[in-house]
Symmetry: C4
Subunit: 275 residues, 4 copies
């Protein structure tokens, strides 16, 4: 964001445009953001209504025009953003830049590929801007704690997901051997799908073991799934605990500038000076 | 409650009424509360029985009269509460004041709107008074720890729920595109409903993916749901841990600045000085 | 157990019997326990086989006689236990005393009430003796940690279960109003059953919301259930953490005999002496 | 692994072979490992495709030959491994040695027992080698933390699983008595299967209680399952927390005896002395 925020070198008009579109400190910028969010929500609701057959048959053309109005509005907004920033490429490549583009593309794509307009629900991601508008600084802080915990636990979670995938592949294949095609386990991929449904305790019931041996294996998988859910939970809880501690403990040492001291520290752990 | 409890300025009769209705220190007040809870339970059971067709067809009129007797009793109680407190509005706006009102309204509403009387199950909320009657001070303390943990984690939980909602909207729409109407995913809202059913590992099975691509996406959603349940768990566990610690109380040693002393410690466990 | 263990005053024969039946230090006592566990397992398997129609029709009488043999053996064992201890009533009222009695009663009850013999599966509880036989002292220690954590969190869990019950009653009734009898929600108790199935993320799918409003409420209940599972988890984790810490930290102060010092304590927190 | 790694006494040719097959420091060794993993994945995909009827009917013979090619390659690899190490038995008995053997056996077994080739999915386990190839040292470290936590909690988890098994046996038998054969609970083992499905919150819905009493017991089991999932979660979280702490390392201050110092601390944060 810092790269985009350099507005001092812009012309006064672009500067003004930048303030309205990218910032929400001025009344104009604030109104822009609030109206933007309302339009985003309306656009998503339009898409949802359009997917319901009975609504579409009655209000189809109305929803069609509404959709195009929203898309044109978002396109104008996207171009304005590109124009108002000093380095358009930096914005275009940023997370919100990509989301903003993806939010308008589907409608244009739908001109060529029917059904493509439903992808527009990606617009939901734009709603994340709401956090900035409402100046929910505290919420941003909380999000950071969650993100930091997830980031810190990503390697452990990867190992865990990988192990689970290996497990369901082997268990699914075993189940394919035990139950066979006559009980609905028509292939190994389908049996793996069943194993995931069972291990994660989702349990649709569209595929259930019919043989005694199959039910015994299912019982083992269920107990396994019931027990190993504890692993990701344990991982995230520990990292979450660390993330919360670290956030509280932002105390800077005036001597050596180190800043990750614990809440209860009296002396700097790096240089020994009193904090 | 402190605002309601100012009974010193009430007339002797209202004071007496206040003691019986609002307090449970006197024998009369205690009996009042016990009888009240029994009536609340009887009333809820009446409503439940009335909803069973076979019971209603046989004892319908009996249950109807019972319901009106309970409602009249609760109405008298509600008016008595309003009369006995010094500032009726403060009571009327309090949590229990609103619950008490909601507990009698449905029966009267049912005179105009058929079926409205089932809303009376809100009366169940009145049962929360039981904690006060039984003088379960310890339970109140435990509830406070849970409430404090939930309060402390409300922002993180909000961010989490918001993220989950964005996720299921996008995943549900994708599933609508993949499976389509012929496999039961008749609209985006319905597909979002399916995504929630899957992500939360509920898994009714009233709607299941039929195509290979749909099953692959379902597997991803299930593993996602299985992994991200760790997030709210981690949040609440950390806050619960803090809430328990805070309740015990942080005591700092003035000599060595260590602060993780137990509630019952007299001397610092690190340097041996008196705390 | 200490009350039962007073064997010094018993006659030599009863003392011998006591050692064989209640202890597993001597070879005879060890063999007695191992054989006992095998018989318990055989007995449970017999009951299970007897419940399968195809097995029962073929080996019914064999299983019937086996069951009576086991019951007679257990009855002899129970009487021996009563005889060999000094104070039979203390044993009879103890946990294992009651389990031992419940393990033989169903067969006799089945003479009068058909089907009663299936209750004999309570015998499974007798298998808990296995921990004593295998001298799994460490397992007993681990069990104690779990039990202590559950004991410490029982009040919080009670408050939690109570809140959940109030919640499902209100949500179930709401669902009864929304969906109605035509969609399978035939009564409030049945709707409450559905609410529990949904909130606990079990999700059988025997009862699912059909109306749009019902599906919206279901989504709310699912997200609620997905989030509040964090509460018991948080409670037990915190208490488990405390239980583990306390177990490690059994360090006794030689001066004041207090014994709940932390692992990292250097001085007694009660009297200030060095540990 | 240390026993296998003694390559100094091998002949130059065997030494070279050893480096290529067992190590991935040299370019040849690295390429060997990458190609190996690709072949493993191809082999697993072949098996999966072969299990889909429509694919098998069309490409059956192609997949059959591919499978044999892979098996011959793996057999050559296995023999090479045996030859290149100094002590073949140590390798043959190691985890990967057994996995490597199990990965080739099923194809040979399928010559005698039809269907046996599906067991070949055990090859998935070979993919675990990927961690070594990619030099994911950090991932190995993370895996160790998870494994250590699971190892430390294995006794508590055993006690927990044992208790759950006892519980589902008793609850399943009770359900068999309540619901009976006419509602699908045809035997005690089948009712135990249902109890596991319910307690673990999987909830297929292939078997659901039909009687009011059965539904009440089901509600109790669901709430039980919802609450006791907290137990394994609590256990693993606590042990995970310990495992992470131990990995960081406990450092004690020689001056003030405080010991919760961070890994990177140089000075005691309580008294300022050098650690």
């Amino acid at each position: 964001m810092s790269a985009i925020n350099q507005k001092q070198d812009l012309s006064p008009r672009r500067k003004k445009l930048y303030e309205v579109i990218f910032e929400s400190d001025t009344p104009a910028g604030r109104w822009f953001d609030i109206i933007l969010i309302i339009i985003i929500l309306l656009s998503v609701i339009t898409i949802m209504l359009d997917s319901i057959r009975s609504v579409r048959s009655q209000y189809g053309s109305l929803l069609f025009y509404a959709e195009w109005v929203f898309t044109v509005l978002f396109t104008i907004e996207y171009i304005s953003r590109l124009v108002s920033v000093k380095r358009p490429l930096v914005y275009a490549k940023s997370f919100f830049g990509i989301v903003d583009l993806l939010a308008i593309l589907p409608t244009y794509v739908s001109l060529f590929i029917p059904g493509g307009q439903y992808l527009i629900v990606i617009r939901m991601l734009r709603i994340l801007r709401i956090f900035r508008v409402l100046k929910l600084v505290k919420y941003v802080g909380e999000s950071k704690v969650i993100l930091q915990a997830l980031k810190a636990s990503r390697r452990k979670i990867t190992v865990f997901i990988f192990t689970v995938l290996t497990l369901v592949t082997i268990l699914g294949s075993l189940m394919y051997l035990i139950e066979g095609e006559e009980n609905g386990f028509t292939s190994i991929p389908r049996s793996i799908y069943w194993a995931v449904v069972t291990l994660t305790t989702v349990g649709y019931g569209d595929l259930t073991p019919q043989t005694v041996l199959g039910q015994m294996l299912a019982v083992v998988i269920m107990l396994l799934g019931y027990a190993i859910i504890a692993v990701p939970t344990g991982i995230v809880t520990v990292e979450m605990s660390n993330a919360v501690k670290q956030r509280i403990g932002i105390r800077k040492c005036s001597n050596c500038s180190s800043d990750n001291h614990d809440e209860d520290a009296v002396y700097c752990k790096y240089c020994g000076r009193i904090l």
